[in-house]
C-alpha cells in the first residue's frame, strides 16, 4: 500500500464506518461497542465529558491507540490493523504538535515529503495550504515565534496539505481564548465544507459541537448516547444525560401515573403516558413567568412557586423559583421591561406540555 493513499475513485461505501469498536484496559472499558457511520463530507462531533471515550475512539481511528476489537472502515478501506502511517488521515492535535525544529513551510511540507511528491508539487501544495489558512508571509517562521492561533492554523494546513480522505480533530481549540475559538470554529467549518473532506471533531464543549457540526455523537462512559443533528439532540434528547449535557435544563423528579406526574407540591401533565419514577426535564428558556392566565392553543403546564432570586444576566433574566422543595430556573429574554420579580414573590411558571421531556427511572 503506497503512502500516497488510496485512489480517489468513488467507492462502495464512502465515509466512515465504526463497527463494534471496543477498547478495554485492565481496569476499565474506555470504548464500549461503538457503532456509527459518518457520511462523506460530513463533519461529525464526538462530544462528551472527559473520560467518555471520545479521544480514545479518535485515536483508534487514527491508529495511535491499538483497537481491542471491532473495525474501522474509511471510504471502503478497512483500516483496522493498518499502521498509522498508512492510513491517509490528517490529524490536528490538541497542542498542535508542530515540529519545533522546522519552520512553517517545512512543517506543512512534511506529509508531502513522505508521499514522495516532486518538489514543484510540494511547493505548490504548501502555498495552497498556507493561502487556505491565511498565513501568507509567515512561512519562514518557527512554531515558537507564532501565536497560539497561528500555530493552530499551521497544524490545520499541515493536515490539509496531504489531501487526506479523513480529517481528525482532537480538541484543537481548547487552548485558545474565547474570541479566537469562535473565529477558528467558523474558519475550520468553512474550509472543511469547501473542500468536502469527511471530518470528526472531538470536543467537550457542547456549544462548539452545536454550532459547527452536521451531526453530533454524544458519548458517555464509552457508549454512544445519541447520534443526531444539533436540532435533534437539543429538541429531542434521547436520554437524561444528553438532555442535561446539551443545553441547560431543569430536572424534576416525580411519580408518573399515566399522563400525570406528581412531585412534592406540584403536578404536571405529560404528552405520553408513563408509570413509576420519572424525571421531567424542561429547558429554562421554554418556561415563562406568567403574570396572568393567558390562553394558549397548546396544552400548558402551570406550576406555582416563590421567587428565590432573580439574576440580571444582560441578554437574559434568570429567575430561580421554589416550587415546593425543588428549585427551577426560568430564563426570559431581557425585553427591557422594568418589572423584575422580587425574592419571595409568588409567581406562576408556565411551559408547554410538549416541552416537557420525560425519562423513566429515578434521577
Amino acid at each position: 500500500m503506497s503512502a500516497q493513499g488510496p485512489s480517489k475513485q468513488p467507492c462502495a461505501r464512502p465515509g466512515i464506518q465504526l463497527e463494534n469498536l471496543r477498547k478495554t484496559y485492565p481496569d476499565n472499558v474506555a470504548v464500549d461497542d461503538l457503532n456509527l457511520t459518518v457520511g462523506k463530507g460530513e463533519l461529525v462531533a464526538f462530544l462528551g465529558p472527559s473520560g467518555c471515550g471520545k479521544t480514545t475512539s479518535l485515536r483508534m481511528i487514527a491508529g495511535l491507540t491499538p483497537i481491542t476489537s471491532g473495525r474501522v472502515v474509511v471510504d471502503g478501506r478497512d483500516l483496522t490493523g493498518l499502521p498509522v502511517f498508512r492510513r491517509d488521515i490528517g490529524m490536528v492535535f490538541q497542542n498542535y504538535a508542530l515540529f519545533p525544529h522546522l519552520d512553517v513551510r517545512r512543517n506543512i511540507a512534511f506529509g508531502l515529503e513522505m508521499r514522495k511528491l516532486s518538489s514543484a508539487e510540494i511547493a505548490r501544495r504548501v502555498n495552497e495550504a498556507i493561502a487556505l489558512v491565511q498565513l501568507q508571509g509567515r512561512e519562514g517562521r518557527r512554531p515558537a515565534e507564532l501565536s497560539g492561533g497561528q500555530q493552530q492554523r499551521v497544524a490545520l494546513a499541515r493536515a490539509l496539505a496531504i489531501q487526506p480522505s479523513l480529517l481528525l480533530f482532537d480538541e484543537p481549540l481548547s487552548n485558545l481564548d474565547a474570541k479566537l475559538r469562535e473565529e477558528m470554529r467558523k474558519e475550520i467549518r468553512d474550509i472543511q465544507k469547501r473542500l468536502g473532506i469527511t471530518a470528526i471533531f472531538v470536543t467537550h464543549d457542547q456549544v462548539e459541537a452545536l454550532t459547527m457540526c452536521d451531526r453530533i455523537a454524544v458519548l458517555n462512559h464509552g457508549r454512544l448516547e445519541q447520534l443526531g443533528t444539533p436540532q435533534e439532540l437539543y429538541e429531542r434528547p434521547a436520554t437524561p444525560f444528553v438532555a442535561s449535557f446539551i443545553g441547560r435544563t431543569n430536572r424534576l423528579a416525580g411519580q408518573a401515573r399515566g399522563k400525570v406526574v406528581e412531585g412534592a407540591g406540584w403536578q404536571l401533565a405529560i404528552a405520553e403516558p408513563h408509570h413509576g419514577a420519572v424525571e421531567v426535564m424542561v429547558r429554562p428558556h421554554r418556561m415563562k413567568l406568567a403574570q396572568s392566565t393567558v390562553a394558549s392553543p397548546e396544552a400548558v403546564n402551570r406550576v406555582k412557586g416563590n421567587v428565590v432570586r432573580c439574576i440580571y444576566a444582560g441578554e437574559v433574566i434568570q429567575t430561580d423559583v421554589d416550587i415546593g422543595g425543588q428549585i427551577i430556573t426560568v430564563e426570559q429574554p431581557n425585553a427591557g421591561s422594568e418589572v423584575t420579580p422580587e425574592p419571595g414573590q409568588a409567581v406562576e411558571v408556565t411551559f408547554l406540555v410538549r416541552d416537557s421531556l420525560v425519562y423513566s427511572g429515578a434521577a
Partner: protein, 288 residues
C-alpha cells in the same frame, strides 16, 4: 519510572526491540555481572604466597581475613574514618545547602554551578590541590608563618590530611543530596513556628532540621559509601602510609597479587555497603 505504562503507537516487533537492546545487554552481562560474580567466586579461593591459586572452594580466605587483627584494624579504621568524614560533611555542607535553597535566580544558578563544577574534575586534580594546601610550605603553613606561628602539626601524608581532603571532596555530593531533600522545606512552616513564639534556633531545631531529614539521610548514605570505597585520595594524601580498605584492595591485587584476599576485601566493602543501605532504609522509615 522512566517507562510509563501507557501504550505507545510504536508498539510492534519485539524482535526489533531485542536487536536494539542486544549490545547493551551483552555489555552489561559480560562487562559487569560476570566480573562481579567472578570476583565473589574468587573470594572463595585461596592463594599461595606466589600468587598461584589452590583450586577448590574454601572459606579459608574469608576466615583468615576476618580473624586477622591487621585486617580488623583496617576495617575499623575505614569504617571509623568514613563515619567521621560523613559527619563532618554533614555539618559543613548543611549551611551551604540551606543558603542555596534560600537563594534564587542568577545567584542560585551561579552557586549551583560552583558546587557541581568540582565534580567534573579528576579526583587526582582535587587531591593534589589539597596536598598543595596542607603540605609543609603549602598554603596553611605559609599563612600561619605570616602570622608568626610555626605549625607543629603535620597535615599531609597522614590520616588528618586524608580526612580533611576527603571531607571536602565529598561535599558536593552531600550538598546536592541535601538540596534534593530540602524540597519539603517550606518557608511558611518556619514562619508559622516563629509566629507561635519560637526563636530562630528553636525553629531550626524543631522545624527545619526534622523536615530536612530525608536529605540528611540520603547525603549521609552517599558520603559514607563514597568515603569507604575511596582510593585515590587516601592513597595520595596518605602518602602511601595510610591503609584503608580500598588501598589494601589495590595493594593485594596489583602488588601482592593475592587476588582471593583482594576479592574478599571487596566482598567486605559490599557487605558494609549493604549494612549502610539497610540502616538508611530503616532510619528513613522510622524517622520520616
Amino acid at each position: 519510572m522512566l517507562v510509563s505504562a501507557e501504550e505507545s503507537f510504536l508498539r510492534g516487533s519485539t524482535g526489533g526491540a531485542a536487536m536494539l537492546l542486544l549490545p547493551i545487554i551483552v555489555i552489561s552481562l559480560v562487562g559487569f555481572v560476570a566480573p562481579v560474580v567472578n570476583l565473589l567466586v574468587f573470594s572463595f579461593q585461596k592463594a599461595e604466597a606466589t600468587g598461584a591459586l589452590l583450586g577448590g572452594f574454601t572459606f579459608d580466605t574469608w576466615h583468615d581475613v576476618i580473624t586477622d587483627p591487621y585486617y580488623r584494624e583496617l576495617i575499623a579504621n575505614s569504617v571509623g574514618a568514613s563515619l567521621l568524614i560523613t559527619v563532618l560533611d554533614l555539618v559543613l555542607s548543611y549551611p551551604i545547602a540551606l543558603y542555596l535553597h534560600r537563594s534564587s535566580g542568577l545567584r542560585r544558578t551561579i552557586l549551583l554551578v560552583l558546587v557541581i563544577s568540582p565534580l567534573l574534575l579528576s579526583a587526582v586534580v582535587r587531591t593534589y590541590g589539597w596536598i598543595a594546601i596542607l603540605a609543609d610550605n603549602g598554603l596553611i603553613d605559609q599563612l600561619l608563618a605570616k602570622l608568626g606561628i610555626i605549625n607543629p602539626y603535620r597535615m599531609v601524608f597522614n590520616m588528618l590530611g586524608v580526612v580533611i581532603g576527603l571531607t571536602e571532596i565529598l561535599m558536593p555530593y552531600m550538598i546536592l543530596a541535601l538540596l534534593a531533600g530540602f524540597g519539603r522545606l517550606d518557608l511558611r512552616a518556619e514562619e508559622a513556628a516563629a509566629t507561635l513564639g519560637a526563636r530562630p534556633f528553636v525553629v531550626f531545631r524543631r522545624v527545619t532540621l526534622p523536615l530536612s531529614l530525608p536529605g540528611i539521610l540520603l547525603g549521609s548514605l552517599l558520603c559514607f559509601v563514597l568515603a569507604i570505597s575511596s582510593f585515590i585520595t587516601p592513597k595520595l594524601l596518605g602518602g602511601g602510609r595510610i591503609f584503608l580498605l580500598a588501598t589494601e584492595i589495590y595493594d593485594q591485587a596489583i602488588v601482592t597479587l593475592n587476588w582471593p584476599v583482594a576479592a574478599t576485601l571487596s566482598g567486605l566493602i559490599l557487605a558494609i555497603f549493604g549494612v549502610a543501605l539497610v540502616a538508611y532504609t530503616r532510619l528513613l522509615a522510622r524517622l520520616v
